[in-house]
Protein backbone atom coordinates (compact mmCIF):
# COMPACT_ATOMS: atom_id res chain seq x y z
CA UNK A 1 0.00 0.00 0.00
CA UNK A 2 1.44 3.36 -1.04
CA UNK A 3 1.83 5.88 1.73
CA UNK A 4 0.97 9.55 1.87
CA UNK A 5 2.87 11.45 -0.80
CA UNK A 6 3.99 15.06 -0.49
CA UNK A 7 5.85 17.42 -2.77
CA UNK A 8 8.11 19.23 -2.88
CA UNK A 9 10.28 17.84 -0.10
CA UNK A 10 12.18 21.09 0.34
CA UNK A 11 11.45 24.69 -0.57
CA UNK A 12 13.37 27.90 0.02
CA UNK A 13 11.65 31.22 -0.67
CA UNK A 14 12.02 34.85 0.30
CA UNK A 15 9.54 36.54 2.59
CA UNK A 16 6.44 37.92 0.88
CA UNK A 17 6.67 35.27 -1.85
CA UNK A 18 4.02 32.61 -2.38
CA UNK A 19 4.42 28.87 -2.02
CA UNK A 20 2.21 25.82 -2.50
CA UNK A 21 2.48 22.30 -1.15
CA UNK A 22 0.79 19.21 -2.53
CA UNK A 23 -0.43 16.09 -0.76
CA UNK A 24 -1.83 12.82 -2.09
CA UNK A 25 -3.34 10.73 0.74
CA UNK A 26 -3.56 6.98 0.96
CA UNK A 27 -6.14 5.68 -1.49
CA UNK A 28 -9.58 5.50 0.03
CA UNK A 29 -8.79 7.68 3.04
CA UNK A 30 -11.61 10.15 3.53
CA UNK A 31 -9.92 12.40 6.06
CA UNK A 32 -6.92 14.57 5.29
CA UNK A 33 -4.96 16.76 7.68
CA UNK A 34 -2.35 19.49 7.27
CA UNK A 35 0.00 20.14 10.18
CA UNK A 36 2.72 22.72 10.78
CA UNK A 37 5.75 21.56 12.75
CA UNK A 38 8.15 24.24 13.88
CA UNK A 39 11.65 23.06 14.79
CA UNK A 40 11.74 21.56 18.25
CA UNK A 41 7.97 21.41 18.62
CA UNK A 42 5.22 18.91 17.99
CA UNK A 43 2.93 19.18 14.96
CA UNK A 44 0.07 21.68 15.13
CA UNK A 45 -3.10 21.01 13.17
CA UNK A 46 -3.82 23.66 10.54
CA UNK A 47 -6.82 22.18 8.75
CA UNK A 48 -8.80 18.94 8.55
CA UNK A 49 -10.86 17.79 5.57
CA UNK A 50 -13.52 15.11 5.47
CA UNK A 51 -13.77 14.23 1.77
CA UNK A 52 -13.82 17.72 0.18
CA UNK A 53 -15.38 19.53 3.14
CA UNK A 54 -13.55 21.38 5.92
CA UNK A 55 -14.05 19.86 9.39
CA UNK A 56 -11.70 22.13 11.35
CA UNK A 57 -9.65 25.14 10.26
CA UNK A 58 -9.66 27.00 13.57
CA UNK A 59 -5.86 27.23 13.71
CA UNK A 60 -5.30 28.14 10.06
CA UNK A 61 -4.03 31.75 9.66
CA UNK A 62 -6.61 32.55 7.04
CA UNK A 63 -5.15 35.93 6.12
CA UNK A 64 -2.22 34.16 4.46
CA UNK A 65 -2.88 30.41 4.41
CA UNK A 66 -5.42 28.61 2.23
CA UNK A 67 -6.07 24.96 1.50
CA UNK A 68 -8.34 23.03 -0.79
CA UNK A 69 -9.30 19.45 -1.54
CA UNK A 70 -11.55 19.94 -4.53
CA UNK A 71 -12.21 16.35 -5.58
CA UNK A 72 -11.91 14.82 -2.12
CA UNK A 73 -8.59 13.19 -2.94
CA UNK A 74 -5.38 15.22 -3.14
CA UNK A 75 -4.96 18.59 -1.50
CA UNK A 76 -2.91 21.76 -1.79
CA UNK A 77 -1.84 24.14 0.96
CA UNK A 78 -0.82 27.65 -0.04
CA UNK A 79 0.91 30.46 1.80
CA UNK A 80 0.66 33.96 0.36
CA UNK A 81 2.57 36.02 1.34
CA UNK A 82 5.08 34.05 3.39
CA UNK A 83 6.62 35.37 6.59
CA UNK A 84 9.86 34.38 8.29
CA UNK A 85 7.90 32.61 11.05
CA UNK A 86 6.34 30.28 8.48
CA UNK A 87 9.64 28.39 8.28
CA UNK A 88 8.65 24.90 9.37
CA UNK A 89 7.90 21.40 8.17
CA UNK A 90 4.43 21.02 6.70
CA UNK A 91 3.06 17.54 7.27
CA UNK A 92 0.12 15.96 5.54
CA UNK A 93 -1.69 13.01 7.11
CA UNK A 94 -4.70 10.91 6.21
CA UNK A 95 -6.98 8.46 7.93
CA UNK A 96 -9.78 6.18 6.74
CA UNK A 97 -12.41 7.99 8.78
CA UNK A 98 -12.60 10.69 11.36
CA UNK A 99 -11.25 8.52 14.18
CA UNK A 100 -8.23 6.34 14.74
CA UNK A 101 -4.72 6.21 13.41
CA UNK A 102 -3.37 8.97 11.20
CA UNK A 103 -0.79 8.13 8.53
CA UNK A 104 1.77 10.84 7.88
CA UNK A 105 3.69 11.80 4.77
CA UNK A 106 7.39 12.74 4.83
CA UNK A 107 6.65 16.45 5.01
CA UNK A 108 7.76 19.54 3.11
CA UNK A 109 10.53 21.54 4.77
CA UNK A 110 10.02 25.26 4.12
CA UNK A 111 12.64 27.89 4.76
CA UNK A 112 11.62 31.53 4.43
CA UNK A 113 14.53 33.97 4.10
Amino acid sequence: EAGVAQSPRYKIIEKRQSVAFWCNPISGHATLYWYQQILGQGPKLLIQFQNNGVVDDSQLPKDRFSAERLKGVDSTLKIQPAKLEDSAVYLCASSPGTLGTQYFGPGTRLLVL
Binding site: V4, P43, L45, Q48, Q50, L99, Y103
Partner: protein, 112 residues
Protein backbone atom coordinates in the same frame (compact mmCIF):
# COMPACT_ATOMS: atom_id res chain seq x y z
CA UNK B 1 -2.13 25.32 21.47
CA UNK B 2 -0.24 22.24 22.65
CA UNK B 3 -1.87 20.26 25.42
CA UNK B 4 0.65 17.55 26.12
CA UNK B 5 3.92 18.08 27.90
CA UNK B 6 6.53 15.40 27.55
CA UNK B 7 9.16 14.66 30.10
CA UNK B 8 12.08 14.46 29.73
CA UNK B 9 12.71 16.65 26.69
CA UNK B 10 15.77 14.56 25.89
CA UNK B 11 16.90 11.11 27.01
CA UNK B 12 20.14 9.29 26.25
CA UNK B 13 20.62 5.64 27.26
CA UNK B 14 22.73 2.62 26.36
CA UNK B 15 21.50 -0.01 23.95
CA UNK B 16 19.65 -2.74 25.80
CA UNK B 17 18.38 -0.47 28.57
CA UNK B 18 14.75 0.50 29.01
CA UNK B 19 13.51 3.99 28.10
CA UNK B 20 10.59 5.67 29.82
CA UNK B 21 8.91 8.82 28.57
CA UNK B 22 6.06 10.64 30.26
CA UNK B 23 3.25 12.80 28.96
CA UNK B 24 0.91 15.04 30.90
CA UNK B 25 -2.19 16.74 29.54
CA UNK B 26 -4.82 19.17 30.75
CA UNK B 27 -8.34 18.30 29.57
CA UNK B 28 -10.55 15.22 29.28
CA UNK B 29 -9.66 12.99 26.36
CA UNK B 30 -11.15 10.25 24.22
CA UNK B 31 -7.82 8.58 23.64
CA UNK B 32 -4.10 9.21 23.74
CA UNK B 33 -1.71 8.18 21.00
CA UNK B 34 2.06 7.88 20.78
CA UNK B 35 3.96 8.59 17.58
CA UNK B 36 7.62 8.25 16.59
CA UNK B 37 9.47 10.61 14.27
CA UNK B 38 12.86 9.80 12.85
CA UNK B 39 15.02 12.76 11.89
CA UNK B 40 13.73 14.42 8.72
CA UNK B 41 10.82 12.03 8.35
CA UNK B 42 7.08 11.99 8.99
CA UNK B 43 5.44 10.59 12.10
CA UNK B 44 4.70 6.90 12.56
CA UNK B 45 1.84 5.76 14.76
CA UNK B 46 2.94 3.48 17.59
CA UNK B 47 -0.01 2.84 19.86
CA UNK B 48 -3.43 4.18 20.85
CA UNK B 49 -4.87 3.86 24.34
CA UNK B 50 -8.50 4.75 25.01
CA UNK B 51 -9.62 6.74 28.01
CA UNK B 52 -11.19 3.63 29.62
CA UNK B 53 -7.97 1.62 29.29
CA UNK B 54 -5.14 1.67 31.81
CA UNK B 55 -2.37 -0.25 30.05
CA UNK B 56 -1.59 -1.47 26.58
CA UNK B 57 1.26 -3.48 25.06
CA UNK B 58 2.64 -3.72 21.56
CA UNK B 59 5.86 -5.67 21.10
CA UNK B 60 8.54 -3.91 23.14
CA UNK B 61 6.23 -0.98 23.87
CA UNK B 62 4.14 -0.57 27.00
CA UNK B 63 1.83 2.40 27.46
CA UNK B 64 -0.01 3.34 30.63
CA UNK B 65 -2.74 5.91 31.09
CA UNK B 66 -3.86 7.48 34.37
CA UNK B 67 -6.83 9.71 33.65
CA UNK B 68 -7.07 10.83 37.28
CA UNK B 69 -3.57 12.29 37.02
CA UNK B 70 -3.97 13.21 33.35
CA UNK B 71 -0.74 11.45 32.49
CA UNK B 72 0.62 8.68 30.31
CA UNK B 73 3.92 6.90 30.01
CA UNK B 74 5.63 5.07 27.18
CA UNK B 75 8.12 2.35 28.06
CA UNK B 76 10.44 0.91 25.43
CA UNK B 77 12.13 -2.24 26.68
CA UNK B 78 15.47 -3.62 25.50
CA UNK B 79 16.22 -0.52 23.44
CA UNK B 80 17.98 -0.71 20.07
CA UNK B 81 19.94 1.85 18.08
CA UNK B 82 17.02 1.98 15.64
CA UNK B 83 14.80 3.32 18.43
CA UNK B 84 16.69 6.63 18.24
CA UNK B 85 13.99 9.16 17.34
CA UNK B 86 11.64 11.77 18.76
CA UNK B 87 8.54 10.45 20.50
CA UNK B 88 5.33 12.46 20.71
CA UNK B 89 2.17 11.94 22.65
CA UNK B 90 -1.04 13.23 21.11
CA UNK B 91 -4.38 13.62 22.80
CA UNK B 92 -7.74 13.39 21.11
CA UNK B 93 -10.31 15.46 22.96
CA UNK B 94 -12.88 15.98 20.23
CA UNK B 95 -16.35 14.43 20.53
CA UNK B 96 -17.15 14.56 16.83
CA UNK B 97 -14.08 14.17 14.68
CA UNK B 98 -10.59 13.34 15.79
CA UNK B 99 -8.43 16.36 16.52
CA UNK B 100 -5.00 15.44 17.78
CA UNK B 101 -3.06 17.86 19.97
CA UNK B 102 0.62 16.96 20.10
CA UNK B 103 3.14 17.54 22.84
CA UNK B 104 6.61 18.89 22.24
CA UNK B 105 8.20 15.46 22.18
CA UNK B 106 11.03 13.57 23.83
CA UNK B 107 14.26 13.19 21.88
CA UNK B 108 15.55 9.66 22.56
CA UNK B 109 19.13 8.68 21.74
CA UNK B 110 20.25 5.07 22.04
CA UNK B 111 24.02 4.74 22.33
CA UNK B 112 25.60 1.53 20.96
Amino acid sequence: SQQGEEDPQALSIQEGENATMNCSYKTSINNLQWYRQNSGRGLVHLILIRSNEREKHSGRLRVTLDTSKKSSSLLITASRAADTASYFCATDESRVAQKLVFGQGTRLTINP
